[in-house]
C-alpha cells in the first residue's frame, strides 16, 4: 500500500554533499537512494553501486537521516524498478509519468481522485504483487532475467493505465461483447500496435509530470528532486535494458563493478542525463550521443573527403602556387564573393589576383545596378543587357493608354492633303514672298536672286568699258548685244568679297528693284530702267543667285548658271571669234564630205 508520506521523497538541498554538475548539460544530477530503516541493506547496496568510496559514505550519513524523515519506502524503489522494466517495453515516458504521479503528493492525489475506485483497486493489487527486491535492483543481469517474467504483468498495467478505450475501459468488453468483436475485427492493427498507442498517451502524461516537477524545482527551496533524480537514475538503468535497441557507452557496466571516481560520475553517468522535458528529447539526447558520432563521420566522409581540418587553399597560397589561380578561375562570381568573406587571408588572395579582383568588382557593380533601380525605363534598365519577355508582358498593361496617346498625337500632327511633287516644289519656291527664286544648279534648292548695280567710273569707261546693253527675258535667257567687252584687267581686280565693300558697287534691296516700273516686263538696259543720276552712275545691273540651303549657299550667275562673275561676261554666251569660226568651217564638221573622205582614207 502506498501512502502519501511514503511516496513523497523530499530531500533538502545540500550542495556540498551530493550535488554534481554535468559539464555539458549544466544540470544538477546525483542519484541518491536511501530508504527507511527497514530497507537499510538495500540502501547500502545502492550506495555500493554509486558511492563506494568511504568519503561518499560519510557524506551520505546525514542525508540518510534526512531521508528517514521523509521515508522513502521500499515500494517506491520497487516501483522504480518496475518502471525500469516497463520502460524497456513502453519507453521512458511511462516511467516518468508514473513516478511523477506517485511521488508528488498533490499530483498523485489529484490523479487518484480522477480515477475510478475499480482502477485504484487494480493498481494497488498490482503494486502489492510486485514486491521490492533490492538485489534485483543492484545487478542489471538479474533485472534482465526477471524482465521476461514481469513483462506480462507490466503489459497488463500498461494497458490498464493507458488504453482506456480498449482494455481498461472495460465497459466495452463487459457490456457489449458484440461491439468489442466488431472493434476487434475492424481495427486489428490497433490491438497489434498496442505499445505504440500506449507511448503516445504517455507522452501527454509525461509532459504533465515534467511540468509539475519543474514547477516544484523552481518554487520550493527544499528541493523535491525525488521524481527528478529517480527518473534520471531510471534513465541510466533502463538504458542498460535497452542495450539491444541502442548502443550504450562502453563503460556503462563498469559502473556496477568498479569504483566510481568523482569525475567519472560527472561524465559517464550524468553526461547523457538532461532534465526530462519530453520523451522525444530524452530519446534524441540518448540517440545523439551514440548515433550522431557515426552519422557525422559519414557526412564528413561524404562532403569533406574524410578530412575536416585542412586549409588547402591557404596552404597553396602560402607556397605561391599557380594552382590557386586555377582554383579561383573555376569559381563563379557568387562563390568568389563568398570566398572573399571567409577570412583576411582569402581576401588578400583574391585581391592579389587582378583579373579575379576585377571580376569580383564587376559582379558587385552588376548586382548593385540590377537591384538599385527596378523601375521600367530607368537608365539602369536601359543599360542592362537584355530585356526579357517578362518586361514585354509588363508593358501590355499600358497598351490601351498607349493607343489613346498615339491617337492624340496623330490628331495633333494631322498633315495637310498630299500634293504632287511639282506643286510641292512650286510652294517651296513661292513661299518666300517678294522674292524671286531660282533653282540652284548644284543642289536644286531655291536660290534667291539678288541684283547688283555696278558703278563704272568714267575713267574706266573711257579705258575699258564702252557700253553694255542687255535685255533679260523673264525666262532668264539673255539676248546679248555686246559691242565691247570688259577688259581682263578690270575683272581680275574685283573679287567677290571686295565687291560689296567697294564704292563702285551698290547693292540694291529687292524692294527697290520691284518698285521699278520696268521690272515686271523685262530687264531692259540699265540706262532705260534707272533714272537721273543713277543712269550716269550705274552702268550695269548684275543678277546673281544665292542658294538658301545651309550646306550649299552657292553663288551663281543667273544667266549662265556658272560661278558668280560680276564684271565678266558669261563665257558660254560669247560669240565665237571669226578665226575660230573660219577654222571650224575649214576643217569640216562631222558628216561632211571632207570628214567622210578622211575616214575612208584611214580605213583603207
Amino acid at each position: 500500500m502506498f501512502s502519501a508520506s511514503t511516496k513523497r521523497l523530499k530531500l533538502t538541498k545540500e550542495k556540498n554533499e551530493y550535488s554534481s554538475v554535468d559539464a555539458e548539460s549544466g544540470f544538477h544530477s546525483e542519484i541518491d537512494f536511501s530508504s527507511s530503516a527497514t530497507t537499510t541493506s538495500k540502501s547500502t547496496s545502492i550506495d555500493n553501486v554509486f558511492h563506494k568510496s568511504p568519503e561518499k559514505r560519510m557524506v551520505l550519513a546525514p542525508r540518510r537521516a534526512s531521508l528517514n524523515q521523509n521515508s522513502l519506502s521500499s515500494s517506491d524503489v520497487h516501483h522504480f524498478q518496475q518502471h525500469q522494466t516497463s520502460s524497456s517495453t513502453s519507453g521512458y515516458s511511462s516511467l516518468l509519468s508514473s513516478f511523477s504521479s506517485n511521488l508528488t503528493g498533490s499530483t498523485s492525489v489529484s490523479s487518484r481522485q480522477s480515477r475510478t475506485p475499480k482502477k485504484r483497486k487494480l493498481e494497488i493489487s498490482e503494486s502489492d504483487e510486485n514486491v521490492y527486491n533490492a538485489k534485483e535492483f543492484i545487478s542489471p543481469s538479474k533485472i534482465r532475467k526477471k524482465d521476461d517474467k514481469k513483462s506480462a504483468k507490466l503489459v497488463l498495467k500498461e494497458k490498464s493505465c493507458s488504453e482506456n478505450v480498449i482494455l481498461s475501459s472495460t465497459p466495452i468488453r463487459s457490456t457489449n461483447n458484440e461491439k468489442w468483436q466488431k472493434f476487434h475485427s475492424f481495427h486489428p492493427e490497433r490491438i497489434k500496435d498496442f505499445g505504440k498507442s500506449f507511448d503516445d498517451d504517455d507522452e501527454t502524461n509525461n509532459k504533465i509530470a515534467n511540468f509539475e516537477t519543474s514547477q516544484k524545482l523552481s518554487d520550493d527551496n527544499s528541493l523535491d528532486i525525488s521524481s527528478f533524480n529517480l527518473s534520471n537514475a531510471s534513465f541510466n538503468l533502463t538504458s542498460s535494458l535497452q542495450q539491444q535497441q541502442h548502443d550504450i557507452p562502453a563503460n556503462f557496466h563498469n559502473l556496477w563493478t568498479d569504483e566510481i571516481k568523482p569525475q567519472e560520475t560527472k561524465h559517464s553517468i550524468v553526461q547523457s542525463i538532461k532534465p526530462c522535458e519530453s520523451q522525444g528529447s530524452l530519446q534524441s539526447s540518448f540517440s545523439q550521443s551514440t548515433v550522431s558520432s557515426t552519422t557525422t563521420s559519414e557526412r564528413k566522409k561524404k562532403f569533406f573527403n574524410g578530412r575536416t581540418t585542412f586549409d588547402i587553399l591557404g596552404r597553396l597560397y602560402a607556397n605561391h602556387d599557380i594552382a590557386v589561380e586555377n582554383i579561383l578561375n573555376h569559381l563563379n562570381d557568387e562563390s568568389l564573393l563568398s570566398l572573399s568573406h571567409v577570412s583576411k587571408q582569402y581576401r588578400k588572395m583574391i585581391q592579389s589576383n587582378k583579373s579575379i579582383e576585377i571580376r569580383r568588382q564587376n559582379y558587385l557593380k552588376a548586382t548593385k545596378s540590377i537591384k538599385e533601380n527596378k523601375l521600367p525605363g530607368s537608365s539602369s534598365e536601359k543599360l542592362s543587357a537584355t530585356r526579357t519577355t517578362y518586361d514585354k508582358k509588363k508593358r501590355k498593361a499600358f497598351t490601351d493608354f498607349n493607343k489613346n496617346e498615339n491617337q492624340m498625337t496623330l490628331r495633333r500632327k494631322q498633315s495637310p492633303a498630299p500634293h504632287s511633287p511639282s506643286t510641292q516644289m512650286h510652294k517651296k519656291f513661292q513661299s518666300q514672298q517678294n522674292k524671286v527664286c531660282k533653282k540652284c544648279p548644284r543642289c536644286c534648292r531655291p536660290a534667291t536672286i539678288k541684283k547688283v548695280k555696278i558703278r563704272n567710273s568714267p575713267r574706266k569707261k573711257k579705258n575699258n568699258i564702252l557700253s553694255i546693253s542687255t535685255s533679260i527675258s523673264t525666262t532668264g535667257r539673255v539676248q546679248k548685244r555686246t559691242k565691247t567687252f570688259l577688259s581682263k584687267t578690270t575683272i581680275d581686280t574685283f573679287h567677290d568679297s571686295s565687291l560689296r565693300s567697294s564704292p563702285l558697287f551698290v547693292s540694291l534691296a529687292d524692294d527697290e528693284l520691284s518698285r521699278s516700273p520696268n521690272r515686271s516686263s523685262s530687264c531692259e538696259s540699265p540706262n532705260s530702267s534707272l533714272s537721273g543720276d543713277d543712269i550716269n552712275n550705274f552702268d550695269e545691273i548684275y543678277e546673281y543667285g544665292v542658294c538658301e540651303s545651309n550646306g550649299c549657299s552657292y553663288k551663281f550667275c543667273v544667266k549662265c548658271n556658272c560661278k558668280y562673275h560680276p564684271r565678266r561676261q558669261c563665257a558660254d554666251l560669247s560669240p565665237p571669234s571669226p578665226n575660230r569660226y573660219f577654222k571650224f568651217n575649214e576643217s569640216g564638221g562631222a558628216c561632211t564630205r571632207a570628214s567622210n573622205k578622211s575616214l575612208r582614207r584611214l580605213a583603207y
Binding site: F310, I312, I322, H330, S338, V342
Partner: protein, 169 residues
C-alpha cells in the same frame, strides 16, 4: 636489333622517398617536365638514362600520378593555353572517381601535377577543389577548411556595407 627492341620503351622514375616506379615512355611524356628532360638527353639516351629522380613528389602521390597518366596515355592532351580557355564542365566519370580522395592527397596531387607540368591533371584537381567551394556560404567554407574567422566587427561592417546589394535577396 629493332625487332628485339620494344615498341614503347620503359622508363623508371624514383620518388623523393626512394621508391622506383616503372612506366612507359608514352605515358610519362604527358609530363612536360620529364618530356623536356628526355628531349635534352636526345635519342638513344632514354635506355641508358636510368631512373629519373623526382625530388618533389613522394611515392604515394607518384603512384597516383602514374595511374592517371597510364589511363590517359592514348588521349590527346590539351596544352596549357587550351586549358585556360576551357570552360566545359564535362568530365570523364573515371576522372571523377579517381579524384575522390582526401584533401591532403589532393593537395599533394596538385603540387605534383604542377611540378611535373601535367596541365590536364592540374586542371582536374583544381576543379575538384573549386567544386567543394562552389555555392557555399563563407561559414560553410570556414567549417570545410577549419579556418578561423579573423574579421573584426568594424571590418565586418565594412564588408557588409560593400556587399549589401549582394546580400539582399
Amino acid at each position: 636489333m629493332d625487332i628485339d627492341r620494344p615498341s614503347d620503351p620503359q622508363v623508371s622514375v624514383v620518388s623523393s622517398d626512394g621508391t622506383m616506379f616503372h612506366t612507359t615512355l608514352k605515358s610519362i611524356l604527358l609530363s612536360g617536365t620529364i618530356k623536356d628532360m628526355i628531349e635534352h638527353i636526345g635519342e638513344g639516351g632514354v635506355e641508358n638514362m636510368g631512373a629519373i629522380p623526382l625530388q618533389n613528389v613522394d611515392s604515394k602521390t607518384l603512384e597516383i600520378v602514374i595511374k592517371w597518366i597510364e589511363h590517359h596515355k592514348d588521349n590527346i592532351q590539351p596544352t596549357s593555353e587550351e586549358i585556360k580557355d576551357k570552360t566545359a564542365d564535362f568530365i570523364d566519370p573515371w576522372d571523377e572517381n579517381f579524384l575522390e580522395m582526401d584533401l591532403d592527397k589532393l593537395y599533394n596531387l596538385i603540387t605534383a601535377a604542377n611540378y611535373l607540368n601535367i596541365p590536364q591533371l592540374l586542371w582536374l584537381s583544381t576543379r575538384k577543389i573549386a567544386m567543394l567551394i562552389k555555392n557555399r556560404t563563407p561559414q560553410e567554407i570556414r567549417s570545410l577548411f577549419n579556418i578561423e574567422d579573423d574579421w573584426t566587427p568594424q571590418e565586418i561592417e565594412a564588408v557588409q556595407k560593400e556587399n549589401q546589394w549582394c546580400e539582399e535577396k
